[in-house]
Amino acid sequence: MSRRALRKADAVESRAGPLARLSQFKARHRGWIGYVFILPWLVSFLWFDLIPFVLNLYLSFTDYSVGVKWPNWVGLANYTEMFTEDHLYGLSLKNTIYYMGFSVPLGIIFAFAIALLLNTDIRGRTAYRTIYYIPAVVPAVAASMIWLWIFHTRYGILNQVLRLVGIGSIRWLTRPEWAKPALIIMSLWGFGAQMVIFLAGLQGIPGELYEAAEIDGAGHWHKMRYVTIPLMTPTILFNLIMGIIGGFQVFTAAFIMTNGGPLNATLFYMLHLYNNAFRYFRMGYASAMAVVLFFIILIFTLLMMRTSERWVYYGGS
């Protein structure tokens, strides 16, 4: 459009009355108003996400420690130490994977099973749902206190019951072979979080699909196998990925209840990282650990997404 035509258009608009001019003005100025709205996010993104992310990467190549003015560049030393000298590093990774290997799938199985049972027309299901969900909102520190007491070797209720049935006491938190199972049991207490998500997924399955299956003569098992489970695979994948991201960063319960012990049996990745950063003040090394964990989580997530094409049902395909 030529300049003259533009001016003409402007003139037409200005004749169109104050209302139209107002909306014109607004439309033109909405451009910068948008930035005003997201300004707090931009600041917090730069300050608390981007800069720390880059800084973390940089620190991982240094020997930075609190109190030191300037970090020294040490190249890949932190990374080679992780995989060669620091035998606790490999152990912490193994512990974390052991813990996740049980707590994530078991949590999903429990959550899915109870969600199925509570998705029926039983009476009082709202009350049941609330009861199953409540442990998931208990603060981690309080939950740690509760389970410390439950697992207490002498007076803990769990061992008292086990003694009653003749099994005898188990030193849950003071024997290396029992500490991880104890923390896994405790983590299962919170499966209500996944259950709620499964329940929402189950309610999203159209009833016609079940009716159609019934017309075809499908029983409970067939409806489960060919309708419910395929349609729930996206939700299962979601819970699996979130479980793994959370599982790799498990910290509070182990920090409070066992502090990594006994004999480093519950020294999880985050705990080892925390110890290096805030106990031994080896922040450069801990930063390198964080970088590796970031890539482990990234690779796990991508692998899950990739393999999901084979077992996750996406509507229509």
């Binding site: 997201i38 996400d49 049941y128 008292q160 960063q249």
Partner: protein, 284 residues
Amino acid sequence: MSVESSQERLIRRGAIYPIVTAGAVVMLFPLLWTLSTSLKTIDQVTTLRIDLIPHPIAWWNYIDLFHVAPVLRYLRNTMVVVAASMFGGVVVCSFIGYGFARVSFRGRELLFMILLSTMMLPGVVQLIPLFVIFDRLGWTGTFLPLVVPRLLGHNPFYIFLLRQFFRSVPMELSDAARIDGCSEFCIWWRVVMPISKPVLAAIAIFSFQYAWNDFLSPLVYLGSNQKLWTLALGLNAFRSFEGQQTSTHYLMAMSVLMIIPVLIVFAIGQREFVRGVVMSGIRG
């Protein structure tokens, strides 16, 4: 028409009730046991009998507790962080979410993609550099590292939830307000916010819980400055100082005090809360 006969249904239900009831008892028992232990004397605690209902009921544990640990101070400190978290979530995040949902500007889609990707960022990569940054600013040992990020609405998950909700509000409402001479800020505050109460309630509950339960950030940033310790830190410290053997009843009472507000908030906003959890879950 259902294939299932009423007899089959009866049997199926008969099988479901015992399973879900037994499960519910197992889920609730730790909490009941905690409450029970918090109402026992130390002699009753260290006994080999299983008494669910203590005799006598040592309700005074809840009064003594305030003398053996500075619970009120912990509570006040926690409320400071909670208030910042709730203000940041409900006001600042919704301000940002409004911008992403209802104002068009250049680069919006790209910036929103960046915001989404930060949701996937595991917190561990920010832990150490943030500590270093706050330490250099001289902020460690103060509330600032706990309060400032929350006040700035540093929570992509809340922003995402709010944005999704705001997008479902009809644009005609905004246009009508604009004709009445309402600015974009006024539309956000006076048109969109009042009709977004369900999602704002969910955000309020989330941000309350998140700050109330938080353990790692106060642990890292407050360090040894006991005057500022929150309930989560105080509870853990109380256990380390007193030891479990002699103070289990107090530990359980303090745990109960820490759980009850969460349960109250959850009970008030259960529907919004669950809807929020589900909304955030479905997106995957």
